[in-house]
């Protein structure tokens, strides 16, 4: 039996994968995260509102999701709380923009170089992510790391000028999608369920798809075929799905975290089982036609996973455009929720770029008594023992080549700083 340890870099932070082989076939892959900061213990003992400035700093690429999760957790501490449709829409908008910029960057900085190592496409990642970040900055002040959302709403007023600025940048993002990723009509694309139709189009994504098919890798990276998404909004629905069988009721009491030997990341289970979270899970639950078709054809494999994330971009853009158009400018930005109860518990859920993010806060005597963060990558990259593998682990088992392993590992999009927090 041969063993090999691979360092995974060029992600946010670093991860280590120890492969075990029989012959040239992978039989086990243990995933370890070797650095952490102890953010949960930093939050303990602080006044609850202070979490608004600390949690965004868990992560430089999805910190906004952490902010919104914190706000929602704090708001859940109130027995009753109302926020205006405007505040809700603006929060959704900035969150959606963060998802968008992550999707673009992941495609060009993480996936592309592994398939086409000789073509440098850094600028294709930088341009859209800059535009998305500017749009967030218009509404939230700056990106990354802002704290513009507070229990009861948002701090500032949105003027027509900002709304125009956001609308303009959404248009530009759509233009970039058409120019670089896939030359399609938005409405036709949102309805499309024929992979061949997409495959024939101009653009980088059809090219990626053709490359994976040419290499005969379309069935690689299959995992448990179990999906979960906790967050719901105008676009996403919560629930779990075993292959295509969907259940919509979820109960957070069944969530359990367990330590992993030699790693700072906790493994997370729902009713004792591992689930995949993220764009593929969301697409399965929303029954996105194109992704259901890919899943029918190839299962929960590498191309299905990549396609699910890329194809979320037009859906997110349409959602963001609609939010911007329908923004009720006359609604108040903030409605006084009164003082935060001195004894309370609350949970905030957000669909972040890589999947469901859950924050739970417990307040006692006006201070944070306990704060728990469960991040998407804990679901997807959690490491179990060889007989109970996690999602990415299962996807890596049975592979014969190192380049396949790296691509499949990164198709889950690692964020090590979030995983250990």
């Amino acid at each position: 039996m041969r063993k090999r340890v691979e360092l995974i870099e060029k992600i946010e932070g670093e991860a280590e994968v120890s492969y075990t082989y029989e012959g040239d076939r992978t039989v086990d892959a243990q995933i370890r995260f070797l650095s952490g900061r102890g953010i949960e213990s930093i939050l303990t003992g602080r006044p609850p509102l202070d979490a608004l400035a600390i949690t965004p700093r868990v992560c430089g690429i999805c910190g906004h999701a952490h902010l919104i999760a914190t706000v929602r957790a704090l708001e859940a501490c109130y027995p009753e709380l109302r926020i205006s449709p405007k505040a809700e829409a603006v929060r959704e908008l900035t969150l959606t923009l963060e998802l968008l910029q992550n999707h673009f960057k992941w495609l060009y900085l993480t996936i592309w170089p592994l398939l086409f190592p000789r073509e440098s496409v850094t600028m294709k990642a930088v341009e859209p992510s800059r535009i998305a970040a500017e749009a967030i900055a218009l509404l939230a002040g700056q990106y990354p790391h802002n704290s513009y959302a507070i229990p009861g709403g948002i701090v500032g007023e949105i003027t027509p000028l900002e709304r125009l600025g956001v609308a303009d940048r959404l248009e530009r993002l759509w233009e970039i999608f058409r120019r670089e990723i896939a030359d399609v009509q938005m409405q036709a694309f949102l309805r499309c369920d024929r992979i061949e139709e997409l495959q024939r189009k101009e653009g980088d994504f059809p090219r990626i798809l053709r490359e994976i098919l040419d290499r005969g890798w379309e069935r690689l990276g299959c995992s448990h075929d179990r999906f979960i998404a906790f967050g719901s909004n105008g676009l996403f629905v919560s629930g779990k799905s075993l292959a295509t069988r969907i259940t919509h009721s979820l109960d957070l009491r069944h969530l359990r975290e367990e330590p992993v030997e030699g790693s700072l990341a906790l493994h997370v289970l729902y009713r004792g089982k591992v689930y995949e979270t993220g764009p593929l899970a969301r697409a399965m639950l929303r029954k996105t036609p194109l992704i259901r078709e890919a899943h029918r054809r190839w299962g929960d494999s590498l191309p299905t996973r990549i396609m699910a994330r890329v194809c979320e971009i037009p859906h997110l853009l349409q959602y963001a455009m609609q939010l911007t158009r329908d923004l009720d400018m006359d609604a108040p930005a903030w409605i006084d929720p009164g003082p935060l109860p001195a004894q309370a518990q609350g949970t905030g859920i957000v669909e972040a770029a890589r999947g469901s993010l859950i924050h739970t806060v417990e307040v006692r005597e006006g201070k944070i008594a306990e704060y728990r963060i469960v991040t998407p990558t804990q679901w997807n990259l959690g490491s179990g023992p060889a007989d109970r593998p996690g999602v990415a682990q299962k996807a890596l088992i049975g592979l014969h080549r190192d380049d396949q392993a790296e691509l499949i590992f990164k198709s889950f999009d690692v964020c090590s700083v979030c995983t250990t927090h």
Binding site: E14, I42, C59, I61, S129, E134, Q142
Partner: protein
């Protein structure tokens, strides 16, 4: 010392004073230094093949766009306008100065900020022309390959490269938990090794400079800043969470121009960026002076962009140029979106300033003296101080003007 004196001392201390005009003799010497340095660089081999003008051309940017950018940077670096051609040339020669970027205990937020730095020209400068020999987020190689690439770069450019560090260094119990690279080095060992052969170390972001959020009480990992670990090397601190990309570019460019580090304040921060106080250049300053404050979120004041001091803005205690250069290509900044400054470029901001409460309601001492009894009283105190601050400024510009005429 009464409060008035204490405030006057704080705002007029030499350490925070920005000298924008140092007289002809000084600039003549500086120009000579720069010309010498640039001619040395011109004759040195390029670390990368990238030619900035080709990059700009490919992106459809003209020479004029480039010169516009150069003159903006010249002003930011507090150099007189005639230095613009030198700055432009330095930008062209940036590929002669290798930069090794390492990430320690961080959230990658600073790399993120730089990925979307300023105008498109600067993106190219950063990404293509500056030789980012080793950046964990951006580099092309990965894993063991990257490891040997790092060793090679350190050997080739020994004593010449800038070591840029993002993230804090855990030195507390369990530090062996935080390791990096194939050799399983602790972050501290990794930093010592890479900083050891560098010409200078640039700590980027508040984690690398002062410890940052990981060092927040109870500091579970014993996180400290680079300056607590690295000794005997010039260290430049560029705090803020995230650090402003303009300040990172400015610092690197200054190094290219002079081979030296820019003038620093008492916290090793470049004065060209941290010589400004948020409060002094804030777009809402007039409302502070007029006593118009946001009293609660969503009120008349919030709708009319009044001063956020009573909502916990820490602008009066924070030194940084956010109110001038702003963030995300100058799109906006926190106060522009109606949220107070949280003092993210100051030491210990994570425990002292990062909250919604005004200083008067916290258990921490404002740098201006004792714990205030009420917000209004504190505001009043600052109001007087601000008056003094302005007077000091006025005095400086008056002498500066005179030197100009000579």
């Amino acid at each position: 010392m009464d409060r008035r004196d204490a405030l006057a001392k704080m705002f007029s201390a030499k350490g925070v004073r920005v000298d924008t005009n140092r007289g002809e003799a000084y600039y003549k010497r500086l120009r000579e230094t720069m010309e010498r340095r640039l001619s040395e660089l011109r004759n040195a081999p390029a670390a990368t093949k990238m030619d900035i003008h080709k990059v700009l051309e490919a992106e459809g940017l003209s020479r004029r766009d480039f010169m516009k950018w150069a003159s903006a940077i010249t002003a930011m670096l507090m150099l007189p306008a005639p230095f613009t051609p030198l700055v432009a040339e330095a930008a062209e020669l940036m590929n002669r100065v290798p930069v090794i970027w390492i990430e320690l205990q961080d959230c990658a937020g600073n790399s993120e900020a730089i990925l979307r730095s300023d105008a498109p020209t600067i993106d190219e400068l950063i990404l293509e022309t500056i030789d980012l020999e080793f950046n964990e987020t951006l580099m092309a190689a990965a894993g063991h390959q990257a490891e040997s690439h790092l060793d090679e770069a350190m050997e080739t450019f020994k004593g010449k490269y800038l070591c840029v560090v993002e993230g804090s260094v855990p030195v507390g119990a369990g530090k062996e938990w935080c390791t990096i690279g194939a050799k399983g080095e602790t972050f501290e060992e990794h930093l010592q090794r890479v900083a050891g052969s560098a010409a200078a170390v640039v700590a980027v972001g508040t984690c690398a400079t002062f410890g940052g959020v990981p060092a927040a009480a109870p500091n579970p990992t014993g996180a400290v800043g680079v300056q607590d670990i690295v000794k005997g090397k010039p260290i430049i601190n560029i705090p803020a969470c995230p650090a402003n990309p303009a300040n990172i570019t400015g610092t690197i460019l200054h190094f290219v121009l002079t081979g030296q580090i820019p003038e620093l304040d008492h916290l090793n921060r470049p004065k060209f960026a941290f010589g400004y106080r948020i409060h002094d250049n804030c777009e809402r300053r007039a409302h502070f002076d007029a006593g118009e404050f946001v009293e609660e979120w969503g009120d008349e004041g919030a709708q009319n962009n009044w001063c956020l001091y009573k909502m916990g803005c820490k602008g009066p205690m924070t030194f940084n140029n956010c109110s001038i250069v702003r963030y995300n290509s100058g799109t906006n900044w926190p106060i522009g979106a109606g949220h107070g400054c949280i003092g993210c470029s100051e030491p210990q901001f994570w425990d002292k300033y990062a909250q919604e409460r005004p200083m008067a309601d916290t258990e921490f001492k404002a740098p201006t003296g004792g714990v205030e009894k009420s917000v209004d009283q504190f505001g009043l105190g600052l109001l007087t101080a601000a008056g003094i601050g302005i007077a000091v400024h006025a005095a400086i510009s008056a002498t500066a003007g005179k030197k100009d005429e000579e």
